[in-house]
């Protein structure tokens, strides 16, 4: 009761306060902040979340632009883009065509940046930071200082990675997986020298950032929940972010080991990954006894959990958004938590399915097939529960809801092809083809982007106190949704026909000439979809200053705690006491009431859920 009184007092205080200046802060409960301490070296989780988000968006645009460039080469191999040569210079574009070296550099950097910088730091960095304290009922992260360091390590990683684009020999170009020997031998390719040095430094900094962030997320969720917020009352976003953090904390260190061994191979004459190698122009190398497959094991022990590090936050946010906007409790809450847990466990046990054709023992291969296909079970549970949450719901098609439904659609489409690829026998035919590209872009890349968009549209009012423009949001959604399928669906056919990925030019193959028109089509759609993301970017930045103002504390009629904070929460989130929690986050459409916030005490006459 006293909580409610405090909360209502807050709303009035906050709105009155905000009416006069937009960048208002709440001086009443914390000391004065300078520009540096508020916007740069901020220790407020909400500001750090925005820092992660905007840095991630910068990377998303750069990474997306890279994909547009190499799609131009794939779609229009005979067209001369002289204006690109004027902008990018001769190393990147020669005679109006992307050079082979630039093509590989673009593909590599696109992959690295999108996987790590956008969909790991940009996604879980943003929403773990933003939502964990707000939804568990904490004033900030357990350690705001480490949280700040986490962002700045990410920032340094970004700077180093960005600088690698500008070195004379170009950025690393051996694929985002950085397999040796291309990554281990300086003379193996132009990008294997300075470009790879910078790549590996950036990634090491990134691992530190991820560790600092992950530790904070775990500890905050375990230790800092407000009174009454038991683990089973947590919104599913928090559960998902918790498992994400655990995956990161346990898988990135293995990558770090792999990188350390790689650094020794590169710089100190060791042969951890090297054996029996002849380099053109250099001759036979003295290195003996190492094994390149060892790196693949170490890499994919991170690499596969990384897929779920990317996917789980999107799953969590989608669960929350679907439930809120269907005005129905999430279907099968415990099954959702259980399936998240199952996915987190299985994530560590399937890495070798990326390595079926490395000469892996077929028996071992079949074990990994079994474990891989097992992931279909929790995934299917989740899909079923999302659909049943939507079923006969009172659905509000907000842009966030559209993207959340789009996520489910993409996750189903991409997940089904995962069942194909998880079979080691089929993988002999499908590995390293465009089929794989189509699969992981849909199920992990675009789906998680959709989760991220859903999250941005949904929590934007909480972040900036203003709404994004809905019309632009719908255009953004429909073009991206249609575009995603138009780009990646045809790639399945190319892959089934055996068209390999990562090739600069297919013109030498008679068998792939039939795909010339299709490639042109894909590239054109990619260009359009990229343009629409610029529209989103405009919407995002325009709305920070000019968007429609949020006037109510709880615009969606949502149960979770972040909507009990003032419209523009200051550092510390709640002006009074932190509210106490009496129920789970999903009491929608219960006992004739549309929603019952978590802070409402349980009425003795209430029915059990």
């Amino acid at each position: 009761m006293s909580n409610e009184a405090v909360l209502h007092a807050n709303v009035e205080g906050a709105t009155a306060h905000d009416a006069h200046h937009d960048h208002g802060e709440h001086h009443e409960h914390h000391h004065h902040e300078t520009f540096i301490s508020k916007y740069v070296f901020s220790m407020d989780h909400k500001m750090i979340a925005k820092q992660f988000l905007i840095t991630g968006m910068v990377w998303a645009i750069l990474g997306g632009l890279m994909s547009v460039l190499f799609r131009l080469e794939l779609g229009y191999p005979d067209t001369k883009f002289m204006f690109l040569q004027d902008i990018l210079g001769k190393w990147w574009v020669q005679d109006g065509r992307i050079t082979a070296q630039a093509y590989y550099a673009l593909v590599t950097t696109h992959g690295t940046v999108l996987v790590f910088f956008v969909l790991t730091a940009g996604l879980s960095g943003t929403f773990a930071n933003f939502l964990i304290p707000l939804q568990v009922g904490a004033r900030d992260m357990a350690s705001p200082f480490l949280n700040m360091l986490s962002y700045w390590f990410f920032f340094m990683a970004s700077v180093v990675m960005l600088s690698s684009i500008f070195v004379e020999t170009g950025p690393f170009s051996g694929g985002w997986t950085a397999y040796p020997p291309l990554s281990a031998l300086r003379d193996a390719s132009p990008g294997s020298g300075r470009g790879m040095d910078l790549w590996v430094i950036a990634m090491a900094l990134f691992v530190v950032s991820s560790l600092l962030g992950g530790l904070n997320y775990i500890v905050t969720i375990l230790n800092m929940r407000t009174k009454g917020m038991s683990m089973t009352r947590l919104p599913l976003t928090i559960w998902a972010l918790f498992f994400t953090a655990v995956l990161g904390v346990l898988s990135f260190p293995v990558l770090l080991s792999g990188f350390i061994l790689l650094i020794f191979d590169r710089n100190f004459g060791t042969s951890f990954y090297l054996s029996d190698i002849f380099v053109n122009g250099v001759g036979a190398l003295p290195n003996e006894g190492g094994n390149a497959i060892l790196f693949q094991h170490l890499f994919w022990f991170l690499g596969h959990p990384e897929v779920y590090i990317i996917l789980l936050p999107a799953m969590g946010m989608v669960s929350e958004i679907l439930s809120v906007n269907s005005r129905k409790p999430i279907f099968g809450y415990m099954a959702m938590v259980g399936s998240l847990f199952a996915i987190a466990i299985l994530a560590f046990l399937v890495w070798a399915h990326h390595m079926f054709v490395t000469g892996l023992n077929p028996l071992l291969g079949s074990i990994f097939v079994l474990l891989t296909l097992l992931i279909a079970v929790p995934s299917a549970i989740k899909v079923f529960n999302w659909l049943t949450t939507l079923w006969r719901g009172n659905i509000r098609f907000t842009p966030a809801m559209m993207f959340a439904i789009g996520f489910v659609s993409l996750f189903i489409s991409g997940g089904l092809t995962g069942i194909w690829l998880g079979n080691s026998a089929l993988d002999i035919h499908l590995h390293d083809t465009m089929f794989v590209v189509a699969h992981f872009h849909i199920v992990m890349g675009v789906a998680s982007m959709f989760g991220m968009f859903a999250g941005i549209y949904h929590w934007y009012p909480k972040m900036y106190g203003r709404y994004l423009n809905n019309t632009l949001g719908y255009i953004h959604f429909w073009v991206t949704m249609a575009g995603a399928y138009l780009i990646f669906w045809p790639m399945h056919y190319e892959g089934l026909a055996g068209m390999p990925r990562r090739y600069y030019s297919y013109s030498a193959w008679e068998s792939f000439k039939q795909f010339g028109g299709l490639n042109q089509f894909i590239s054109t759609v990619a260009l359009i979809v990229f343009a629409v993301q610029i529209l989103f970017l405009f919407n995002f930045f325009y709305s920070i200053w000019k968007g429609r103002k949020l006037t109510t504390q709880n615009p969606y009629g949502s149960n979770t705690l972040e909507w009990t904070t003032p419209i523009r929460p200051g550092h510390g989130n709640w002006t009074g006491e932190i509210p106490e929690v009496y129920r789970w986050a999903y009491d929608y459409a219960k006992d004739g009431r549309e929603f019952i916030p978590q802070t409402t005490p349980v009425d003795p006459n209430e029915t059990n859920h």
Binding site: L211, V219, T226, G228, S257
Partner: protein
């Protein structure tokens, strides 16, 4: 008496929110998760070492490699004696660390200081031993990253990655010991300044202790993998 029964029914809600489910502050939980993470780093190193070694045709015999001690001269034959002393020193430093943590619980500042100093000395002694061993291998045996002078135990040319793994992994462990010593020195300074008495608890010492014991534990595995097997 009535109050005890009342608390008995409500108290076990450790996970109900509003307090730490483990009844510890966040830093300790964080340290445990960090150690788990670090265990995976070392685990990956040792597994990488294991797979390379088991797929190799031969491997040098550690008894023939690690058989010297300081001032032992050219033809010393004291297999694993020196490294056993190193290990003993490190384990003893763990004992003194435990005593320091224990004294911290009792708020016994002089005892904490005394035992922290012993722990630091133990750590430094271990690092000195490692420095001597590395110098000996480098200068006397000409072993280094990328150089393995030791023949396999079956008489064939020594596997290149024997020294590579040895220097990388013991070096990584040594780096951890070094950081542990730095942490302990910081803790010593804070203890001497009375920071923990002001704060009312010595939890920082406990967290430093967790890290120190972890580093010792890792050495047990590193020692087993490189010197014994």
């Amino acid at each position: 008496m009535a109050t005890t029964t009342a608390t008995a029914t409500t108290a076990p809600k450790y996970w109900g929110g509003g307090k730490s489910p483990f009844n510890v502050e966040y830093g300790k939980v964080m340290m445990w998760y960090f150690l788990m993470s670090d265990a995976f780093t070392f685990g990956a190193f040792l597994i990488a070492y294991g797979t390379t070694r088991f797929s190799a045709n031969g491997w040098p015999n550690p008894n023939l490699v690690f058989k010297s001690y300081p001032f032992s001269g050219e033809n010393s034959n004291a297999p694993l004696v020196f490294v056993s002393i190193m290990t003993f020193i490190l384990i003893i430093s763990s004992v003194t660390m435990v005593i320091a943590v224990q004294a911290g619980h009792a708020m016994d500042r002089p005892k904490v200081v005394r035992n922290l100093i012993w722990t630091i000395i133990g750590g430094l002694a271990f690092l000195s031993c490692q420095a001597w061993e590395w110098t000996h291998l480098r200068l006397d045996e000409h072993a280094w990253w990328g150089m393995n002078p030791f023949a396999n135990s079956n008489g064939t040319v020594g596997h290149q990655d024997f020294t590579n793994f040895f220097f990388t992994i013991t070096g990584f462990h040594g780096f951890h010991v070094f950081s542990g010593v730095i942490i302990n020195i910081v803790m010593l300074i804070k203890t001497l300044r009375g920071d923990f008495d002001k704060r009312g608890h010595y939890l920082m010492i406990e967290k430093a202790g967790l890290y120190w014991h972890f580093v010792d534990l890792v050495w047990v595995f590193v020692f087993t993998c490189f010197y014994l097997i």
